[in-house]
Symmetry: C2
Amino acid sequence: MNEFSLIEEFFADCTQKREDVVLAVGDDCALMTVPSGCELAVSMDTLVVGVHFTAEADPAALGHKALAVGLSDLAAMGAEPAWATLALTLPEVDRAWLVEFTQGLSRLARSYGVQLVGGDTTRGPLAVTMQLHGFVPRGKALRRDGARPGDGIYVTGTLGDSGLALRARLEGLPLSQETLCCVEHRLDWPQPRVREALAIRPFAHAAIDISDGLAADLGHILKGSGVGAAVEVEALPLSESLRASVELDQAWALALTAGDDYELCVTVPAKYRDRIRAVLSALDCPCALIGTIEEEPGFRCRRQNGASFIPQQQGYRHF
Amino acid sequence: MNEFSLIEEFFADCTQKREDVVLAVGDDCALMTVPSGCELAVSMDTLVVGVHFTAEADPAALGHKALAVGLSDLAAMGAEPAWATLALTLPEVDRAWLVEFTQGLSRLARSYGVQLVGGDTTRGPLAVTMQLHGFVPRGKALRRDGARPGDGIYVTGTLGDSGLALRARLEGLPLSQETLCCVEHRLDWPQPRVREALAIRPFAHAAIDISDGLAADLGHILKGSGVGAAVEVEALPLSESLRASVELDQAWALALTAGDDYELCVTVPAKYRDRIRAVLSALDCPCALIGTIEEEPGFRCRRQNGASFIPQQQGYRHF
């Protein structure tokens, strides 16, 4: 089997058909049109076997996650998803594996109107690189450098669940069957906050998605914006699963430092406090006000009683 | 060292600064603007250690080639290069290696005005995925489906040199030092035909770049356009190096089936015969008329005396 039939057989028709795609898989390049008045947002992520997932990982979940992490990056910019490209490196052509991988990928792609427009397939150690492409009206992107002192810091959903799943999987932390099921689903089938991000965009100053841990990712906003933050640990949104499984100190530490949650962290000026809650509530998305952007640089994490809280873990380090 | 400092240290400033880049490396997405009236052309390619290059390969050449293959795909569409993204998977952070890789990449990028706008760095077996992004005026792309009976089939430069280098490297074919130097340079430092493609665009019906071998790549044009071709082997452009190193039959076979030449194969209507020679001559680019597009499907490769010529090798198969 050669590269061309592999792409045609498995990927040519697996996703949404979009009118802005002039030419998809099957030529030297894909050709697309960007709506006038919009900027093009692109994000590229690689998942490597033995580093980000195991060789035994569910291929459908892998296809889903490869797309989800890119969609989450688009969400973090307030961009509307449009197209994906896929570079897939495979040790061999395993049709059953490819069918499942494609299904996981295409289900998520269809639900966000994303078309797979091109890519490359190569032989080698299993790895998946996806690039996502989206649109954002000119000048309206949610950047890391927009946070201002006085902004409220909001987080969607709950934090630390994927970290708990990883501790169970890698360190053997014992969990109830029900909890394991919940948190592994969060780890393996992340749901990017695309709709939420588009609803938030008019009201937020800055945004990031939480892929490497809240402290690390909020840290990027602080650095990019030249500001600091005070966060109250009791305000961190924790799931029942997480609360029931570890001590509160550990739960906070996971919420602050564990990655792979793919929730949004946004900073919003005080005047939009009600609006942000209203638009997220309309989407059934939980939303927690966890702290405030301050002028003084640094990340200050405190208990309600004023004591400092210093988590014992660090965000994911890539090297 | 984490992902962020790696990108910042080695890649943030390594390439051209472009005015159409709103936001490059350092946020969740890069943001760019596409000129109005243009389509966006994208192409993604992966090079994997042990498959496309060896662990001992010159990192500067690898950086160059990773970009060159994408630029060659843009050229094949008649697209003007603009931005690149890079997914780099590394077994470890080797600063000397990274410096050289970046130099090879950035030298070529600057010479075509390409800015590296984003990407990902991950740990794992060495692999390089690059996506190239370019512009082409709406409806003006050179596609594989545009060839028409009567079109002349033209090839830039010479064919088979990279194939000769591969035979020397992998099979120990003995070559003179001078020849080896010439053909290895073609294999390791391919020069994409970007300027040539832009000059040809107004006159050509269809184009492809020769990455998998002329027969295979011209075959894609024939299939895409629903036509056939007659090619005369004596017209294939061969370098002195190739002619001097193997029998003529083998030289033709390499020119027809070996990949990695990154020359252009274009089909041009008869009325533009002089124009195509003139625009390429102005760029000092050799150009050979090797055959004709015919209505009857199939690829007919003949000697001048009318006898069929069937090469003994096949184009590169990815699996």
